[in-house]
């Protein structure tokens, strides 16, 4: 059963583009990793209250995150730079509850990205690759 609606997938992609952009010092970004698939798996293994929290966070991002800049808009339709400013404002917010929304959402998305095999290879992490102990 699918846990995420199309709207939630759009919000996730819009956040992922800011958290793990395509360019940069190693050749992978949000387009190369199945972030939505990871979150689907995450949601099928978490209790109702955690799922509910994920949905709430995505909903707040999509419809109310503009409040951080006082410039109305739907998150997934905003330009990259505006989304980046909003996420920064959430991360540095003096209210812990708002930072908590960033924290929880970023934990799930960053885990999804950095848990990927090719991403781990590209940054030089080889511990237990293919079930074989690569430790000297």
């Amino acid at each position: 059963m699918r846990n995420l609606s199309d709207r939630e997938v759009r919000t996730i992609t819009a956040i992922a583009e800011v958290l793990v952009p395509q360019d940069g010092p190693f050749p992978y970004g949000y387009k190369d990793v199945d972030i939505t698939g990871f979150i689907e798996d995450f949601l099928s293994h978490t209790p109702f209250r955690v799922k509910w929290f994920v949905y709430l966070n995505l909903w707040i991002f999509e419809y109310f995150s503009w409040i951080a800049l006082m410039s109305p808009g739907i998150f997934s339709r905003m330009k990259f730079e505006k989304r980046k400013k909003i996420i920064l404002a959430f991360r540095k917010n003096k209210y812990f509850a708002i930072r908590g929304i960033y924290l929880f959402t970023s934990i799930v998305l960053l885990m999804a990205f950095y848990n990927d095999e090719k991403v781990m290879d590209s940054i030089g992490y080889y511990g237990y690759k293919d079930g074989v102990n690569k430790i000297k």
Binding site: V18, F48, I87, R91, R99, G100, L103, G127, I135
Partner: protein, 499 residues
């Protein structure tokens, strides 16, 4: 005999001499000791039994399956703090770092002063420490296995006149795979499912997994039975059980034991069940270096520095696979990618404080507890001081930059910048912390008005109902708690057997 309840065809109703609920640091030694004394014992565990010998780098899958709520347990308060708990055969010990300290003697003296604790002398615990140390093969981490991460910090610490030491650990065949908190794929770490549980089973204890105790029945103020439900792979209910026993030991950990008492409205005439929560708040400091260190290779928690332990500040090594280190760093987007590109040039050390802040556990929604905890000013000061010291150590070791978990001070590029941090007043809301040691929520003491259990860990209110886990600590311990929990559990078992 270890049986997964999903293999049981029918509901069951059994009788026993004792039933132990929870198979972590408290429950497993208890089941072993009682079974060794010839008692008919059931050890009931909500989580499953896992075999991770086929582990393939996917640490997320381990967290998803073995950590409670896939590792998403958080405290509510300022700041909100991730508080991971194990939910598998072996409890939190299967996902812990393997560090093993005896209870500091001065802490036990302070507990006695504060709470009485008739009969509980340090000398009475020594044979139990010895049993634990033998059973778990505890010895100091060796230089060959600690890895460059710990060596680097130790070098910096020595330059500042500090005294780094190898940590005592329960992993005799350790190969330095760096995955202790993901279950140790080498099978070296002697967590409960590798040590006390098979030993208990050999002595005749019946171990039942995927079974959650929900009700505790009492008759005439005496323990009578526990009942609950079996869970399938998705943790859905699929059958019920009941075990009658005159001795019931709760070892569900410092969050779930008080939850069970509160839910059953039991053993709480003192009003203390669920209160006095301590967690040893912990902060991670990351040093960025010019050359490769490969901190992921080697024991993550291999060395410690206790020069400031008298002030309640301990330093212990840490490192994590990229999956988890990524979100512990104070950045996102391109900045985070730049840091992560230098993953192999990072080093990490943790600061853990003996907290005076107190939280509480209450009954929440969705069959789960709620955990409230806010860091007070005094603990904030300790954490700040710890961060400053760890940062100085890293600069002394040659770090180019330091990443600190303090909002507003994310990246420190020189020792001079540390002076700004030193002068600054840090608020609890600026801290970005984690915690791994919940304790104190059913504290022991002689006075039934101020404590939940007596010094033999029997509840003041219900005869035959015992608590043997981290919840009985009267205050924050100051060192990693598993050996204290195990020794207290064996002490409790000794007194049950004598009775």
């Amino acid at each position: 005999m270890i049986v997964d309840s999903s293999a049981l065809a029918t509901d069951f109703h059994e009788t026993a001499d004792a039933v132990v609920v929870g198979s972590g640091a408290g429950g497993a030694p208890m089941a072993f000791a009682l079974a060794s004394a010839g008692m008919k014992v059931y050890l009931i565990e909500e989580g499953k039994q896992y075999d991770i010998s086929g582990f393939k780098r996917n640490s997320w899958k381990v967290m998803r399956d073995m950590y409670r709520d896939s590792g998403t347990v958080l405290t509510l308060g300022v700041p909100s703090i991730p508080l991971p708990l194990g939910n598998a055969l072996g409890g939190t010990t299967i996902i812990n770092s393997g560090t093993c300290f005896r209870t500091p003697e001065n802490v036990l003296s302070q507990w006695k002063k504060q709470s009485g604790l008739t009969g509980l002398e340090y000398s009475r615990l020594i044979p139990h420490f010895e049993t634990v140390e033998k059973m778990l093969g505890i010895s100091d981490a060796t230089e060959e296995t600690v890895g460059a991460n710990n060596i680097l910090f130790a070098e910096g610490a020595k330059k500042l006149g500090l005294h780094p030491k190898p940590l005592p650990r329960n992993a005799p065949g350790c190969k330095g795979a760096g995955l202790c908190v993901f279950g140790c794929p080498n099978g070296a770490k002697q967590s409960m499912e590798k040590s006390f549980i098979p030993a208990a089973s050999q002595k005749g204890a019946a171990v039942i997994t995927s079974a959650r105790v929900e009700k505790i029945l009492i008759e005439n103020k005496k323990a009578k039975s526990v009942s609950g439900s079996f869970r399938d792979g998705n943790k859905n209910k699929r059958g019920i059980f009941r075990i009658d026993a005159p001795v019931i030991i709760l070892s569900c950990g410092a969050i779930y034991t008080p939850y069970l008492l509160l839910k059953n409205k039991l053993a709480n005439s003192s009003g203390q069940a669920g209160k006095n929560l301590h967690i040893h708040p912990a902060a991670k400091v990351v040093g960025l270096f010019k050359d490769k260190i490969n901190s992921w290779s080697g024991i993550p928690q291999g060395y410690y520095v206790d020069d400031y332990a008298h002030e309640g500040i301990m330093f212990e090594g840490f490192f994590l696979p990229p999956t988890f280190l990524s979100f512990a760093l104070p950045a996102f987007g391109m900045d985070l990618k730049k840091y992560m590109a230098g993953y192999c040039k990072m080093a990490g050390f943790g600061i853990m404080v003996t907290d005076t802040s107190r939280g509480k556990v209450t009954v929440g929604i969705d069959n789960a507890p709620m955990v409230f905890y806010s860091v007070n000013r005094a603990d904030t000061e300790k954490i700040k001081k710890g961060i400053e010291i760890a940062s100085r150590v890293y600069f002394a070791a040659g770090a180019e930059k330091i990443l600190v978990p303090l909002l507003g001070f994310d990246e420190i590029t020189s020792p001079e910048e540390l002076k700004i941090l030193h002068e600054a007043e840090i608020k609890p809301s600026q801290l970005e912390l984690s915690a791994f040691h919940p304790m104190g929520t059913c504290r022991m003491g002689d006075n039934p008005k101020q404590s939940v259990v007596n010094s033999y860990l029997e509840t003041h209110d219900v005869k035959g109902l015992y608590i043997a886990d981290a919840s009985v600590f009267p205050s924050s311990l100051g060192v990693n708690p598993q050996v204290t929990i195990m020794a207290l559990s064996l002490w409790c078992a000794e007194n049950i057997i004598k009775k």
